[in-house]
């Protein structure tokens, strides 16, 4: 038994009342007043409470960016890694310890630009975990540069007059790559978002939730999002092609679970009882 297994075996677990407050660390978030991420944090703790998770058996993993600060604001085990690699780190956590609940959180730059390759492969691999992207179509922490979801004509110091490059469509990419649950949520609706997150966490395999989370500092016009969003007028489907057609033709403000697939999740845990280590040596006898 290694030291980890010993510590786990020895751990006593007093039953605690499970409320959203159970999942708050008490650390004051470093976000601008009015940032959508405050509400997302609240939705996460609500969802955890709804599912009666234990903080010590839940791991929140992130990369770098404003929204990626979120793990330290929860009372769960947190992992605040390097830029763009949250999904990789989270995959390692889940494969090593399948019994833990793993939530990955980050922004559009972290997830779709520097971490874009990991996004594709996390969807494909379909490991049972939930990925939320707080999308505000801007790099906020570095003070306002265009991200992959920024409109091509959005003017900024780094790209005067706009990038001229079309925006990335994360939901379609997720569907095409094999994510098993796809939803769009809005930070301004914390209760609705909490419901969607609970569904996403409960759903087997890789769940992806795109959360429109306004950056009131660098994209003040996103305050208008609260007027634009509306519940998706269709029910959730298990047909990825249908879901993809919907999200490619909607106005980008359809809120709700859009796709719940039935792909078999990535197999976790040992598939057979371990053999003694000395048995590995047999093949080296000449």
């Amino acid at each position: 038994m290694n030291s980890t297994a010993t510590a786990l075996a020895a751990a006593e677990r007093p039953a605690a009342a499970c409320t959203p407050a159970t999942f708050k660390s008490g650390t004051k978030p470093i976000w601008c007043p009015g940032c959508g991420d405050y509400s997302v944090l609240s939705s996460i703790t609500k969802a955890f409470a709804m599912l009666a998770l234990k903080p010590e058996e839940t791991v929140v993993v992130s990369g770098i960016g404003c929204s990626s600060r979120i793990p330290a604001y929860t009372s769960c085990y947190g992992f605040h890694g390097v830029h763009g690699r949250a999904l990789a780190a989270a995959t390692g956590v889940k494969l090593a310890r399948p019994e833990l609940t793993v939530l990955v959180a980050g922004g559009d730059g972290d997830g779709y630009s520097i971490g874009g390759n990991h996004f594709l492969h996390a969807c494909r691999r379909n490991v049972d975990m939930t990925y939320i992207v707080m999308d505000n179509h801007v790099y906020g922490m570095t003070k306002g540069q265009p991200s992959p979801t920024t409109e091509p004509d959005w003017d900024s110091k780094l790209a005067p007059g706009g990038t001229g490059v079309r925006a990335f469509h994360p939901l379609v990419i997720a569907l095409a790559s094999g994510a098993n649950f796809v939803a769009r949520a809005f930070a301004g609706d914390p209760n609705g978002t909490a419901e969607i997150l609970a569904q996403a966490i409960r759903h087997p395999g890789f769940s992806f939730v795109e959360i429109l989370s306004p950056c009131v500092t660098f994209r003040p016009e996103q305050r208008e999002w609260k007027e634009a969003v509306h519940p998706a007028s269709v029910t959730v489907t298990n047909d990825p092609a249908r879901a993809a057609r919907r999200v490619m033709t909607d106005d980008g403000f359809n809120i709700g679970a859009l796709y719940a697939g039935d792909r078999t999740p990535f197999p976790l845990g040992p598939r057979r009882p371990p053999i003694p280590l000395t048995d590995l040596e047999a093949e080296f006898a000449p």
Partner: protein, 599 residues
């Protein structure tokens, strides 16, 4: 060509052993024949080594299996080859530097494949040809490389039973096809009589408890023995076989291996899995190590144990993927941004890949730090017959926080620098692992004081650890010491033995622990030493410069550094014999030699 009195030469294979090169185009069965020849030698009771070398295409280009078989354990290739047996000559001339021949060597080609390349013929070696392809064709279902195997094995004096046993052990096809290939082996063996002779192996008796293993396999086994149960990695030459060995082995012992989408993912996956409490490893080569450095830095900062095996190949950039070089040393010891103390260790032989990797897991877990293992293509892809390595007590054991530990601070500034690590699943010790600088509780902090406390802590835990005797292999004595590391150790050890035969004493210090630098340990090892020679296989004298930066070396240290891909050979690391009894395999390349000079 000088006549020789040296113990290790062509006319005395009992000491220097017997050296055979099999060459041809990739896919022609060169490596299979070489592997079977080595396996037959093992069954007959010999020790030996097979080095693989191939062109940049890896498959489809030129390939060679370089063997040295002997009565005693073998750690490096000899100065030259007794036999070059080529299945065809397609681009085989590219190995001219790696397959040195002399007038006593024998070259055998296929009659239907044209003349032997001038570069080989110019050595004065005897040249013969045999219609190997035709012979195989005459026995339906048989292959040319089996004719070659029969020929080479018989020339070497290996018993037919040993060759047959080697083939039977690896056979995966039907009996009829086995019989055909055994007939091909016999045809090759029969042809040996008329083709010219090479020295034969002495009478051998099978030894107990020997292993036939590659450095990559040994490293994988060492990792598992050390406690590694999760691996994430991306395929890369010459590290892939390590991963291919570990994938089924891990599954058997309750672990798993994941093929990641790239090296950025591999390293971050194992930071995650180790954070979650499972000892973890990745293996790569130079280009992959370059991609991984940000993640290794995260492991330094967040104090997450992990092991990265770097099977070094020729660099920079894509470099020479399938050939060996010790040129990632500088990058391993200093290639992270910020002040980032890390462990760097290097196995000193194929067998030692096991012990050193196991030790690396132990150190990483004990010190909650990343450890880089500097193997290389020579050790990783070579296969050797060795005595079963001793069992080591090094098992990864990390200091873990207890549930609800009072006043738990993940990064507490302890005297040893090591602080209890909380494991997800354990209540009352939740924290956020972070690449940001932090205070003792783990809360991000950009304050000067917190930065100094944490920098000191991370450096101190490596500096204060007791590394015991594992830090170096130290052998012999005298006023001259040869400092080396990794796969250069074998040739240096042999060079020192040859020098001893000529009355020159030298001490070997092969450093297994490269970083952190332990100047007191080396001072102790070099007590009484007046001259130091540093030997390594790279162009930039990286080890020499590292030693000059961190250690006080006696006298005026000399450097002997040569880049790959020519395999490190004792010839290159040997005293020039001033009495005229020169080495049998001397080649007109004096700059390739250094002198064990006593000033």
């Amino acid at each position: 060509m000088a006549t020789t009195t040296s113990k290790s030469n062509a006319s005395d294979p009992a000491h220097g052993g017997l050296s055979i090169a099999l060459a041809g185009s990739g896919g022609s069965g060169v490596m299979t024949a070489g592997t079977l020849l080595l396996s037959a030698a093992a069954k007959a009771g010999a020790y030996g080594l097979m080095v693989r070398t191939s062109g940049p295409q890896i498959r489809g280009g030129e390939a060679a299996a370089l063997l040295r078989i002997a009565r005693e354990p073998v750690a490096s290739l000899d100065d030259g080859f007794h036999l070059l047996l080529a299945f065809d000559w397609q681009n085989v001339h590219r190995f001219a530097d790696e397959i040195p021949l002399t007038g006593t060597s024998l070259i055998v080609g296929d009659e239907g494949e044209g003349e032997a390349p001038a570069a080989f013929v110019a050595t004065g070696a005897r040249v013969a040809a045999l219609p190997m392809k035709k012979m195989a064709k005459a026995i339906p279902g048989s292959w040319t490389n089996m004719v070659a195997l029969g020929l080479a094995g018989t020339l070497a004096g290996l018993p037919r039973e040993a060759i047959e046993a080697a083939l039977r052990d690896s056979w995966k096809r039907d009996e009829a096809s086995l019989a055909a290939n055994l007939a091909a082996i016999d045809a090759g063996a029969k042809a040996a009589a008329g083709i010219g002779s090479i020295p034969k192996l002495p009478k051998l008796s099978p030894g107990d408890g020997r292993w036939l293993i590659s450095g990559n396999e040994a490293a994988g086994l060492g990792a598992i023995r050390g406690g590694v149960r999760f691996v994430a990695a991306y395929p890369i030459t010459p590290a892939t076989e390590l991963l291919e060995w570990m994938a089924p082995a891990l599954a058997k012992v309750g672990g798993s291996l994941l093929q990641a989408e790239d090296e950025l993912a591999s390293i971050n996956m194992i930071v995650g899995s180790s954070f979650a409490g499972v000892p973890s490893l990745t293996a790569t080569a130079g280009p992959g190590l370059a991609l991984m450095t940000e993640g290794i830095g995260l492991a330094v900062s967040a104090e997450v144990p992990l092991v990265v095996v770097d099977v070094m190949r020729g660099g920079p950039s894509t470099g020479i993927p399938a050939k060996s070089e010790q040129s990632d040393l500088s990058y391993a010891v200093s290639g992270l941004h910020g002040d980032a103390p890390r462990l760097v260790v290097a196995p000193t032989s194929i067998a030692d890949c096991l012990a050193t990797t196991q030790w690396a897991v132990h150190l990483a877990e004990a010190l909650q730090a990343p450890a880089i293992v500097l193997s290389d293509q020579f050790m990783g892809q070579s296969r050797a017959i060795i005595d079963r390595p001793a069992d080591l007590a090094f098992v990864g054991k990390r200091l873990v926080a207890e549930a609800n530990a009072p006043d738990f601070k993940r990064y507490r500034d302890t005297p040893s620098g090591v602080s209890p690590m909380a494991v997800p699943g354990v209540p009352g010790t939740a924290y956020t692992a972070d690449g940001l600088e932090k205070n003792e509780a783990g809360t991000p902090s950009s304050g000067a004081r917190d930065h100094i406390v944490q920098l000191d802590k991370r450096a101190r835990k490596l500096a204060l650890h007791d590394y015991g005797d594992m830090w170096a292999d130290i052998e012999g004595g005298g006023e001259l010491a040869v400092l080396t590391f990794g796969s250069s150790t074998g040739p240096v050890r042999e060079a020192i033995a040859r020098a001893a035969a000529n009355g020159v004493r030298a001490k070997l210090v092969a450093m297994r622990l490269i970083a952190p630098a332990l100047p007191e340990k080396l001072d102790e090892a070099l007590a009484g030493v007046k001259h130091v020679l540093v030997v390594e296989q790279n162009h930039g004298a990286q080890f020499y410069r590292y030693l000059r930066a961190w250690f006080d070396l006696p006298g005026r240290p000399e450097s002997f550094h040569r880049p790959g891909p020519a395999a490190a050979q004792a010839r290159r690391a040997r005293r020039r014999d001033r009495r005229g009894g020169g080495p049998d395999f001397r080649r007109p390349r004096a700059p390739d030699r250094f002198r064990l000079k006593t000033r």
